[in-house]
Amino acid sequence: MLGPTVAAYLVLSAILFATGAAGVLIRRSPLIVLLALELMLNAGNLALIAFARQHADSGGQVFALAVMVVAATEVVVGLGLIVAMSRKKVELDVDALTELEG
């Protein structure tokens, strides 16, 4: 098998995931949070495809396709919400949106 080993892909995937998670936890703009979420999802995709290649099993790739669909729909809904918020002049800051507190 040519190219880097699975471990290399997994390391890259872990870095991507950690970057995404850090973005979700640290950034306050919902737009950036959404971007960071995409990063986390694609980190997962990378891991799936790496394992699929190692096992020579296309199941992982199919699953990655499904994740992309979910990611696309999620972005549609998320961006729609953000656009609606900015139209209504709601401040675009996730820390300000605390109305669901118990």
Binding site: V24, L25, I26, D95, L97, E101, G102
Partner: protein, 634 residues
Amino acid sequence: MTAAAWLALFSPLGAAVALAVLGDRISRSRAGLLVSGSVLVSFVSSAYVLARLLSEHPEQRSHVSTLWTWLSAGDLQVGFEILVDPLSVFMMLVVSGVGFLIVSYATGYMRGDDEERRYHAYKALFVFSMLLLVQSGNLLLLLVGWGMVGLSSYLLINFWHQRRSAVAAGKKAFIVNAFGDATVALGLFLVIQRVGALDFATVFGSAEAEIGRSNTVAVLIALGLLGGAAAKSAQVPLHTWLPDAMEGPTPVSALIHAATMVTAGVYLIARTHVLFELAPVVLHTAAVLGGVTLLVAGVIALVQTDIKRVIAYSTMSQIGYMFVAAGVGAYGAGMFHLMTHAFFKALLFMAAGLVIHALAGEQDIRRMGGLGRELPRTTRAFLIGTLALAGVPPLAGFFSKDEILANTLDGGPLGIVLFVFGVAGAFLTAMYSFRLLFVVFRGKQSEHVQHHLHREPNEGPLSMVWPVGVLAVLAVVGGLVSVPGGWHAVDTWLEPVSRPLVHPAGWMEAFSPILSVCVALLGIAVAWRLWGQASDLPTALARRYPLATVALERKLYFDEVYDALLVRPAARLAVTLERVVERPIVAGSARATAGGIRGLASRVAATQSGLLRVYALVVAVGLATLVLVFISVR
């Protein structure tokens, strides 16, 4: 025929349910008419059943009708069944007949009361309960009627629930009656254990074999039944509730506490006489209780000052006679006195109701006097009732009381003692009843009367006057159904159900009336000397014997003794338990639990900040922890 009996039973219940459902969508006068109509239906059906029974052979006059199996527990099957036989038809006629007159009277008496409809509904419920009690075909259904009669009596006694005394009286009546219900229930448990059935035919049929084997069991069962009978019929020492029950409206006193419910004890003894005869000791106890009650109540009635309380004590005393009769085994005589007593005592109560009505609610006889000139018709009705009560021939009370006295003469040594009691009671009866008559209707008009008497044409609304008239006629002629030395219609009629144990000889039937009439006339003469004319003899007597007077005015301290022995210890126990158990343990634990959960909840709620990033952090940290745990533990 049984269909007519069922109709008689359920017609008042239908009226009660209709009133409860309709609420104020039915007018007050229609509510009264509905109830009196339903009781009239019961009376007509009962009369029809009587006519059908009369056409049958005396030994075959017993019909059981079962609607469904009401209770089924192992081998014990109890049906919802009624028994139609001479005894139950006799009671049905008394209850529905006198009941109809009193319910009609009540439509006039209660007119204008705020809660007239509730009153009528309760009254219909009472008539249903009483009919259930006398018609039931087994001991369990009898106990159901027994308890329901107590309940509706309670509801009617504290009908005027704004009055504290009425509420207290209702509670007292309920508690004493519940005591009786409990002893009856205990007796029934023993019957179930021994016989394994509760319907009259099986129980009485196998009583001799199953219950008679053990004297103790027979005595215990009879004692249980006697406890219930004495409580319901207000016999010493369970009598204290009846005088207080006079807090209820006067028609209630007439119907429940004179004519029907309080006589249920006598009916119970006559119905279950087979069980009582297995334990003669208890039967004799019943007779002695009756004898003591008739004297005690008669003496107390001499000094009471509330018109209704005097009549209430007189009721106790007359039921004492019935207990004496039932106790010596003269069931027919007891039932006969029950019937005539229903006539003349209801008459007395209703005439007293007319007086109270005319005086705008005044019941104290010391504030009455000289009413004879103002209320001539009421006076005549009261006079008839008083003469019948005192046993003056040829009124109803004379025949029935003397039948009882004649029967006691045949009851052996105990019978002789009871006869003496009865004759002394006849003297007291004449004395207190004429005292009431003289004090209320003769003498000078008091200031209160002059100010408060409001005169009406006919001395009251028509609906109140005509039942009094009918009862006056019945009180005069009602005794003629049984004449000493002639015929004994009641005895003969009841013979198939409850065969009497005593058979008075001819001389007894001649001797006892003569003696008791002489004694009654003597009592009237004494009453005339004391209260019939202006005289200071009563006050002089009271001053001469202050101890006796006070003891009688305090009703021989029965209430005080019960208060000290039962009520106050119970209250003290309740207060102690409240302080030691209820407040620290029961309420305290509930309060601590609630407080703890509330504190925990407020602490948990603090984590719900609504900050999305905090939630995400918690999820991430949790996930990371789990991953680490799974990797390291494996």
